[in-house]
Each structure stands twice: as C-alpha cells, then as structure tokens.
C-alpha cells in the first residue's frame, strides 16, 4: 500500500492504495465519488472520463498513483457554486441529451474538455471528439445537439425537439 494525495474537485483528497489501484477505483471506492462510471475494460466506452490537470482522461485506464499531486475534476464538481447545473449540464437536460444516465458523466466531462479547446465546434467536430464516448440510448442526436447548444449555437433548426 502507498499513500496517494491529489486535489479532487478543489478539495484535498488522499488515501492508501495499491500499485494496481485504478484512478476510477480510488474515486469510487475510496472517495465515494460514484458518478465516475466503469462501462468497459478496454478503454473505449468513456463513462469514466475525468479531467486530470485539465485534460480529459479515462480514469479506468490510469493508475491512482499516477495522479499523485494532480488536480482531478469529476462530474460531482461540475455544477455551479450554488448547486445549479452548469451550462453543459443544463443543455443536456434542456435537449434530452441523456436517457439511462450511465454514459452521461463521461459525456459531460468530454464535452467540457472539447469546449475548453474549441468553444464553437461544428457538428462534425463534436461527433469526431466523442469517438471515445459510447452511448447506447440516445443515438447521439440529442447529445450532439446539447453540446452545440451549450456552446451558444442556435440548434432550433435541428430536427425534432
């Protein structure tokens, strides 16, 4: 066992972990932050996407000890300070960008990473960026639409509300 310390959603967090403990396990099991989901074992589904030092990573494919000293952001820390949904979360709700909700934390975290680098992505850029985030419920329509809306684009001409 080794001690690992990091900042998670702005707060200091530490715990004892094994070498093999994944960041996703540390977040879920040690810190109780169960919003980070695990949907596969081949680093493809993206339900576990969190930000480490500002970059989107798959928490199920990173050892907790690799995040020593890092700033980690998870879905639990995304809402506004007053607890209201942030603009990406709100857009997902406004545009029905989630159904079962399992992929949603990873989708929101990936969308946040995309919009940080590319504040007005095109539809194609969004679809391309979501290559590592699988959703089985929505057919992606309303996810893409929500991200476009979150970036301030007019989505009223996109079919079906």
């Amino acid at each position: 066992m080794a001690k690992v310390s990091m900042t998670v959603n702005g707060k200091a967090a530490s715990g004892d972990v094994e070498g093999r403990t994944l960041l996703s396990s540390f977040l879920r099991d040690s810190l109780g932050l169960t919003g980070t989901h695990v949907g596969c074992d081949t680093s493809q589904c993206g339900a576990c996407v969190v930000h480490v030092d500002g970059k989107a990573v798959k928490a199920c494919t990173m050892l907790a000890l690799e995040a020593e000293g890092a700033e980690v952001a998870t879905i639990e820390g995304q809402a506004n300070a007053d607890g209201s949904l942030n603009n990406i979360q709100q857009a997902f709700q406004d545009h029905h960008g989630l159904q079962c909700g399992f992929c949603t934390p990873g989708m929101v975290m990936s969308a946040a990473a995309l919009l940080k680098d590319n504040p007005k992505p095109t539809e194609a850029e969004i679809r391309d960026y979501l290559e590592g985030n699988l959703c089985r419920c929505t057919g992606y329509h309303n996810i893409v639409k929500a991200i476009m809306a979150a970036s301030g684009q007019d989505v009223s001409s996109i079919a079906a509300e």
Binding site: A2, G19, R20, Q44, V49, A56, V57, T61, G132
Partner: protein, 262 residues
C-alpha cells in the same frame, strides 16, 4: 490485475535501475498496458512509470529534424508538430480518442508495436531513429514483427528523431470496432526518395511497400501506383476484412495519401 509495485522515477538512470528488477516493466501512458493487465494477460512484478522524467517530455525542432521525447503524449505531438511536420501531427491527432491521446505516448506505442497502431507507420515511413538509453536504432531495423522490436529487456525509448520530409500524408482506414487501423498507409517524400509504410495489414506488422516507393520515386502521383498491389498472402484476414480486402485497401490508401500529400 495481479499485484505489482509501482515506481515513478524522475531520471532515465533511475528508471533503468528500477527496470533491472526481474519482471519489471516500463509504463508509458498505459493505454494498452493497463487494459492488458486488467485481463491478467501480463504479470509484471513492478511498473516503472516514465511519465515524470523531464528528459522524456522534451520536444525539439532542429531545422529539418523533429525530436520527440519518449513520454510525449499523442495530444502533445498533435499540437507541437502541427507546423513542422503536419502529417505526423495529423496522425498523432487521430490515434484512439481524445482521452487516450492525453495519456498515450509515442515511446509506449513504439515499444508495444501493435500491428494496427499508427506510430509504427510514421516512424518507418519517415525513416525515423529510435533513440534509447543505450543506442540509436534506425526504424528499418527496429520493427521485427507483431509486438516485437529491437528493444532489449529494460531498454527505454528516450526519444524518436523524425527527419522532416518535403511532403507526407497518412491515410487510415478504420477497423469499425477498435478504431485502430484496418489499414494505414504513411507516405513521405524525401530528397533521398519516397518511403511508404503500411500498418494494420500485414501478419508481420508494419512494413515498407518497396514497389510503391520505387514507382513514386519515378513519379510522385497517385496514378503512379496503378497496377501495383501487395500480395494478399501475407495480409491479415479476420472478422473485419479478408486478406484480399486488406491488400486492396493498401493500394487505395496509398493513392489517397499521395494525393493528399500533394
């Protein structure tokens, strides 16, 4: 995963020392190794992370020679090489997905030498030099078959040196599930000649398509490849495409790469 120790040295020397332990293994970004460990397909005694060694994070552009540290991520290459070697940047920017690119490293990819990975095509297609803690290995000698390289036990890729070509392009046809290359062709035109490297297709891993190189040396145009084909016999045939299909795609992707290289 089986249990293992974890070390995160800050110098190459420390890393080399740590890797001297029996069954110790280097850990780059872990984007292939960690899924492998989850399936218990490997049983290292110790993982030695290479992600905190400043020397391995260096990236320099030296008048026609791009040197990329072994622990530089795909995302970093995509950004840093955009001006100096756009074909390489574009390749790096399309490996895996954004989250994978934020962790995965060039050294990790080349050390693993997955037969469907992109970087081997870039390295071989550029005639790059693989620099390790002990020596420099020309790419023509580095790749030795599926998941096999010239690296010795405990040897670390410290950097990769890419000579920048006059023009180059990489075309990847995606395997629909994994999004690795079903076939990827890297074409680079140097003063000394054209290099064409193919990934994803062959049972022997990445290879140079010499016939295509000769044809493109004579005329760097897509139709120079008309009538040329690779032997389907040595290609991979699986759920996602027959040997014949892969052989066909090599030709299509090579032409598209030449056209896109301009």
């Amino acid at each position: 995963m089986y249990e293992f120790e974890f070390e995160k040295p800050s110098t190459v020397a420390e890393a080399v020392a740590a890797l001297a332990d029996e069954d110790a293994q280097a850990l780059g970004g872990g984007q292939t190794l960690i899924p492998t460990l989850k399936q218990r397909l490997a049983m290292p005694s110790k993982l030695v992370s290479l992600t905190a060694i400043p020397q391995l994070k260096e990236l320099s552009d030296n008048g026609g020679m791009l040197t990329i540290g072994g622990a530089v991520t795909h995302a970093e290459v995509a950004e840093a090489a955009a001006a100096s070697y756009p074909a390489l940047a574009d390749l790096a920017g399309h490996i895996g997905d954004p989250a994978v690119r934020n962790r995965g490293t060039i050294g990790g990819s080349l050390a693993n030498n997955d037969p469907a990975a992109c970087y081997p095509a870039a390295a071989l297609g550029s005639g790059a030099t693989i620099v390790t803690n002990t020596r420099e290995i020309p790419s023509d000698e580095y790749f030795q078959g599926l998941f096999d390289t010239a690296l010795n036990e405990g040897e670390i890729i410290t950097a990769v040196r890419f000579p920048v070509p006059e023009k180059a392009n990489y075309q990847k046809f995606l395997q629909p599930a994994s999004r690795f290359a079903l076939v990827g062709v890297f074409v680079a035109k140097y003063a000394a000649g054209v290099r064409v490297a193919v990934t994803g297709a062959s049972e022997e891993g990445v290879f140079r398509w010499r016939e295509a190189e000769a044809a493109l040396d004579a005329s760097f145009a897509p139709d120079a490849l008309d009538g040329l084909s690779v032997d389907a016999g040595g290609m991979i045939g699986d759920l996602h495409g027959s040997k014949e299909y892969r052989a066909h795609l090599v030709g299509v992707m090579a032409k598209r790469a030449v056209a896109a290289a301009g």
